[in-house]
Every structure is written in C-alpha cells, then in structure tokens.
C-alpha cells in the first residue's frame, strides 16, 4: 500500500487581495488548510513620508500626516502638531484643545467603525454590517466637512491650535449624533456580538497573551484586548483628557472576539468623552499666533498620542531651520504586526483573514 504524497503549498496572499486591507503581502505556507509559516512583506505603499518631511516646513507636514493613516487623519494631525508644539514650545488655547479632543474622538469612532465593519466583511457577512457601519461613519465625515471642509484628508490641526473654529451648525449635528449613536451601537451589537457564527469564528482564535503583547510592543485595542490596561489618554494625559471621565475597556484573553469587543466599547467611551467635552467647552480663541515658518530651537523630542490603532508617536529633530532635520513616525499599524507570525501559525486560512482584520492595519501607515 502506498501513501499519498502531500506537500505544503505557498501562497502569496496579496498584494492584490480583497482582505489584506491594502497592498499588504503575506507569503503563507499552508499544510492543507493549516498555516505553518507566514512571512509578511511590506513596502508596496511606501511614499517616503519621513524623507519628504525633511524638505517641508512644519505646517506643510500636516498635509503629509493626513495620508499616513488615511482612515484616521485627525489623530495623525494631533500626534504631529503636539510634537511640533512640544519642540517649539507653543501653547494651545483651551478651546482648541477641546475641539481637538472632540474631533479626535469622532475620528476614533469612525476608525473603529471601519475596523468592525471590515472584520465582519472578512468573516463573510456580505458587507451588510460594513454598510451599516459606513452609514454612521458618513455622518461623522459630514461633521468633519463642516469642521474643516474635507472628509478624509482633513489637515485640520495646526501647531498652536486648529485653523478655524467650528461653525455654528456643527454643534447641532454633533448633539444629534451623540444622542443617536448609543442606539446605533446597541443595534450593531445585537447584530454581531451575540451572533453564534461570529462567536464560533472569533472566540479563542488568534490568541495573543499579555506577555507576548507587551514583549512585542503592541499597543492600542490589540494590547487592551490582551487584558493589559494601558491607554495613553489615562497613563499620560494630554490635551484635556485629564478633565473627562472615561473607562479603559479591556478584553479577556486577547482573541479576535476581544479585539472586536474592545473596539465596540471604546466607541461608547468616546461618546462619553465627547459629551463631557461639549459641556465643558467655553468660547475663546482657537489658535495661538504662530509665524508662518516656525523655527523651533535646536533639539529633539518625542511625543505620542493614543490613536485609534495604538500609540502614534512622532520623533522630531530640529536643527533650528524651517523644516525638521529628521522626522520619524512610530506607526501603530506597523508595530502591531510584530506578533503576526505567532498569532497566525497553526490556524486555518479563514482565521488568517479575520486575525489580520482584527489587528486593523492601514497600509498607508504600515509603509508610510
């Protein structure tokens, strides 16, 4: 009797693939349906953001940061302008800080909605939850259009504040949104959270233990899903986060379901933060007068914020000129991919897709 010879199959998952969330390539070796080896390949969307920043002045770089994590431009703007403010010692008016926090939390909701929708799309739900998520995200984008005239590439923040105060009708729409949103989240939750197919697909899949998560430098919802209570908004409060009350939701075991559920709870917390900010905000200027060409003193600094995907940091070196000598981005999407191989090995093809989807990477940020 002869045995059937089997051999592992190597598949290039990507760069063109519906579920790699961009031009990401995974060289996966399958033993049947089971993954035995994974090798991620980056760089298909490399645009040289960090190098381009060296030839632009400090305000012009804001437009570059929009294009890194293109589903969360506002957070990128905030991380960048905070670094410049720290480097040049610029004060930010209080009202500007509140508006920044409101817009960043709106952006976090928008980003998490997209992450949730695409996770469900990866699970094979024929885009229905995705479209429901996009319906609500549209409303946030409408708010951004009122705020700053653009929907995706916002360029809203400037070193020293935001460029323009929110128009009057923005506040009405914002109030409607935050009163509607919890109902909508309930609906989304009853569509997804209790769905047994989702549970069967996600619970216990793609485990990332807390030690592993901390060791590999993972941040954001992926880290918090691994039951590590670490949030820069609490641990190192910036802007006005020390004046608002909110919880840091954590997960149980660090599986795919936890990563989804932490995001869902974070959206609820963001709504809480926004409503508190609306109560606390007071009239005043929204921008400190800064020269067109900011010339920070010679030095270097690192500053980071809690973006929707994790710790988004900028390291900048100034040589006293109008543009930075060096600008390095700590991109959370990129660093969250560190434990990818450990998370994927041993799981099946279908799990690969949802584990990658639950990490929520954006290729503009991975490759920069």
């Amino acid at each position: 009797m002869s045995t059937i010879r089997t051999e592992p199959v190597t598949i290039n998952l990507g760069p063109q693939h519906p579920s790699t969330h961009g031009v990401f390539r995974l060289r996966v070796t399958f033993d049947g349906e089971e993954i035995i080896d994974v090798e991620p390949v980056f760089g298909y969307l490399h645009r040289g953001t960090e190098k381009l920043a060296e030839s632009r002045n400090y305000v012009q770089i804001v437009t570059l940061t929009d294009r890194m994590d293109y589903v969360a431009s506002m957070s990128n703007n905030l991380a960048y302008v905070r670094t410049v403010e720290k480097l040049a010692g610029i004060d930010v008016p209080e009202r500007a800080q509140y508006i920044r926090v409101i817009s960043v939390e709106l952006q976090r909701i928008a980003s998490h909605l997209m992450a949730t929708g695409f996770l469900l799309n990866d699970l094979g739900a024929l885009a229905t939850p995705l479209v429901y998520c996009f319906r609500e995200r549209e409303r946030i984008l409408d708010l951004f259009e009122m705020l700053c005239g653009a929907r995706i590439t916002l360029s809203y923040m400037r070193p020293g504040g935001v460029f323009q105060d929110a128009p009057d009708d923005f506040w009405n729409s914002l109030n409607t949104l935050i009163s509607d949103f919890p109902n909508y989240l309930d609906e989304l939750e009853s569509l997804i959270t209790t769905n047994e197919i989702v549970l069967a697909r996600t619970i216990g899949v793609g485990l990332l233990s807390d030690t592993q998560a901390v060791d590999s430098g993972v941040t954001g919802p992926v880290l918090r899903a691994a039951s590590v209570k670490w949030d820069l908004r609490k641990a190192n409060p910036y802007e006005v986060y020390d004046r608002v009350k909110f919880d840091v939701p954590i997960g149980n075991s660090g599986d795919t379901y936890d990563r989804y559920y932490v995001r869902l709870q974070e959206m609820r917390e963001s709504i809480k933060i926004i409503s508190q900010c609306i109560e606390q905000i007071e009239p005043g200027p929204v921008r400190t007068e800064t020269p067109y060409f900011i010339r920070p003193p010679v030095g270097e600094t690192y500053s980071s914020v809690e973006g929707p995907k994790g710790e988004l940091g900028f390291y900048m070196v100034s040589d006293g000129g109008i543009s930075p000598y060096r600008c390095k981005v700590r991109a959370p999407s990129f660093i969250n991919l560190t434990p990818l191989k450990d998370m994927l090995t041993g799981w099946k093809m279908g799990d690969l897709i949802i584990i990658l989807g639950s990490i929520d990477i954006v290729l503009g940020e991975v490759d920069r």
Partner: protein
C-alpha cells in the same frame, strides 16, 4: 385532482405525440418514431434552457436589488425601470470581454467545467412538477424515479467545481475547489437523509406522487427533516453561511478565479440558478408543491412558495457571516448527520405505529388525521432536541468571564 393531461399542455409525452402525429401525417411510417422522440427532446431542452436563463437573469436582478435594500442601499437602478435590464447589461459586458485561458491551464477541463456545472442544474428542472395547468405535472412527469434523478444529477456539481479549480492551475482556485469537493460530498449525505424521510411518508420516488401525498405539508409533519434538507442544500449550492467554495474575502474568488468572459458568465449563471432550483426542490418536497387554494392556479402557488424560500435564502445571505471549513464539516457530520438519522428513525417508528393501528389509506399512505398527530409530536420532539443541542453546544464553549486586568501594565489607571 388527477386528470388526464390536456393536449395543449407542454410535456415530453404530449410533445412526442404531437410530433408522431405530424410525422405520420407527412407520410412517414412507424419507423421514424425516433425523430419524434428527438424533436420532442430538443423542444423541451430549448424551453428549459431559455426559461431558466431568463428566470436566473431576473433572479440576479432581484437578489442584487434585495440585498441592496438589506444593506440600506438602492441596488442596481440605472438600466431601465428599477434597473430591471441590469442582468442583460451584465451578460453583454461578460460576452464582450476577452475570454482568457491561462497558459498553464488544462484547457479541455477548463473549458468543460462551466458546462458541467450548468447542465445538471438545468436537468433538474425537467422533473419538477410546476403545476403549470393542473396540480401535478412536470415536463417529464412520467419519470417515476424523479427524486433519485435529482440526487444523482446534483452530485455532478462537485466534479464540475473540482474541474474548474484543477483546470485553471491557480492556487486559490484549487483551494476553493478542494474545499468544494470535501464540502459538497459531505453534504450529499444529510441531503439524502432529508429526502429519505420524505420518501418514507410519500412511498414513491416520483415527484408528482410526492406532491400528491402531502395532504399535510411535510414541513409541518417533520420540521427536523426540513431543517436538515434546507441546511444541506444551502451548503450544496455554497451560499452563506456555507460559502467556502467561493469565499471572496479569503480566496479572492475561489474556483472561478481564472475565469473571464463567457465562461465566467456560464459559471455565474449556474451559481445563481442553484437557488431557484433548490427552492423548486424544497417546494416540491416539503411545501406541498403546487397545492393551494383554488382561486389561483397551481403554478402561481408554486411560484409564491419558491419566492418565499428564495427570500429566506437572501435574508440569511445578507445577515450571517461564513463558517470556517472545519466548522462546516463538523456541522455536516456531527449535527446534520445525527439529526437526519434521528428524523428518519422518528418518522419510521411513527409510520410503523400507523400501520399497526390501521391509520393508512388503501394505497398505503397515511391518513390526514394521523399526519396531524405526527406533526404535533414531531414539532415537540424537534424543539426539545434543538434546545438540548443548543445548551450542549453553547454553554461550555462561549462563556465569557469578566475581564481582569493583567498585572503587566497598570500604570496608575486602577480606579477612575
């Protein structure tokens, strides 16, 4: 309800008679009977293919429109009123596209696969008793092994899908078709078990006989059998939550990755014809075929029942995510197989009791009163079985305890 087929009704027999008369009136003798046979066959094929292609075209429109509505979109609405001409635009575009065959493909297999997938689906329709005029008439109504024919013909599907995957020499395609082969063969068994329970009650393999024996619809008599058959046939046509063959978020497009142009159109046609055919089979087996109240003809009732089933499939497709391949196989062998066997056992015992107690009619089928009693018993048994199964599966695996913060990083964020 059983009447002689009127002369103008289109069925294979009536057409053959027509052609025989025609040939004889032209002066040819009895030895040219085969010509009449051939002509009748060609006519039936022509009819089936055209009607089914048109039906599928409008079904794709309906599906896209409906799923659009489920997804709070509009769906296709540009071509013609309500976008009704969208399928023709699609077909036109697909025909005009270049028909590429990969260099490394196994060309004959690659070319034959769409045909092999489409033909069985079309062939099923000839034995379905639509009841166009009367309550029971199929195009090939005198085929006394109708349901066996269906089971036999549908199993060609798995070969066709494997041909498509193997022939295109693409890794995604081969993964999809491997999954397909495993899944389709597994789900043949629960499907056959579901059919067997129907056969126990109807006592005949002929589709018309099955319809006639449903004085109470079999979905009421044996809900478990309906569930098993419905789940299995959803998997057979590879739709959500069992759409592993063409898992677009995992495999790109599965077995039809390399297809384009007219070949893809044929694959697409077969894929979208499957729900119609499945709905027709389920209607015949479990929903009493063309039975209904008399103010509407039987064909309309049949169409209404098919529509309801198709809508149910659409609803499920637009709501539920996909299961993983091992979960699908587990579902087939651990749940559906067991339920199917249990259902057969239950129905068989009940049938035996009926025979012992003398609740049978002259032709051996059960009386309506006994069927009602069976329905009551079976519904209770089904609900109890499902609750037990649900608790058995659900409780131990999916319990989520309250999360406790890891000691690794509690940087002063303990209380609020």
């Amino acid at each position: 309800m059983i009447a002689s087929t009127p002369a103008f009704f289109i069925s294979f027999d009536s057409l053959k008679d027509l052609f025989v008369n025609l040939i004889q009136s032209l002066g040819f003798g009895e030895s040219f009977g085969w010509v009449a046979f051939l002509l009748a066959g060609i006519s039936i094929s022509f009819l089936i293919i055209n009607v089914m292609v048109m039906a599928t075209a409008f079904y794709t429109w309906f599906e896209r429109r409906m799923i659009g509505r489920f997804q709070v979109r509009r769906g296709p609405n540009r071509n013609g009123p309500f976008g009704i001409f969208q399928p023709f635009a699609d077909v036109l575009k697909l025909i005009m596209k270049e028909d590429t065959i990969p260099d490394a493909a196994d060309k004959p297999v690659f070319t034959l696969a769409p045909i092999a997938l489409l033909a069985p689906t079309l062939m099923i329709m000839i034995v379905i008793p639509f009841g166009t005029y009367l309550r029971d008439d199929a195009l090939l109504s005198n085929l006394n092994i109708g349901i066996l024919f269906i089971v036999g013909v549908t199993s060609v599907n798995s070969i066709a899908i494997f041909m498509a995957g193997w022939g295109s020499r693409n890794k995604y395609a081969i993964l999809g078709s491997m999954r397909g082969a495993a899944m389709l063969i597994s789900y043949e068994i629960p499907m056959a078990l579901g059919i067997t329970s129907v056969l126990l009650l109807s006592g005949s393999l002929a589709m018309t006989q099955i319809v006639q024996s449903q004085s109470i619809w079999f979905i009421l008599v044996m809900p478990m059998g309906f569930f098993v058959f419905m789940a299995a046939s959803t998997a057979e046509m590879s739709r959500t939550p069992f759409d592993q063959i063409e898992a677009e978020s995992e495999l790109g497009s599965g077995y039809n990755t390399e297809y384009s142009g007219i070949k893809f159109a044929v694959l697409f046609l077969a894929e979208f014809m499957a729900p119609i055919v499945t709905a027709a089979i389920v209607t015949t087996l479990f929903l009493g075929g063309s039975q209904g109240f008399d103010f509407l003809p039987g064909g309309i009732w049949f169409a209404i029942k098919m529509f309801v089933l198709i809508f149910l499939l659409l609803w499920v497709r637009s709501t539920w995510p996909r299961l993983r391949i091992d979960q699908i196989m587990g579902f087939a062998w651990k749940v559906l197989f067991g339920l199917g066997l249990f259902n057969i056992f239950l129905v068989a015992v009940e049938f035996m009791v009926a025979v012992e107690l003398g609740h049978t009619k002259d032709d051996g089928s059960l009386t309506t009163e006994y069927m009602l009693i069976m329905a009551a018993v079976n519904w209770m048994v089904t609900i109890i079985a499902f609750v037990i199964l649900a608790n058995f599966v659900g409780k131990k695996k999916y319990h989520r305890p309250e999360p406790t913060a890891s000691p690794l990083a509690n940087m002063g964020i303990g209380g609020d």
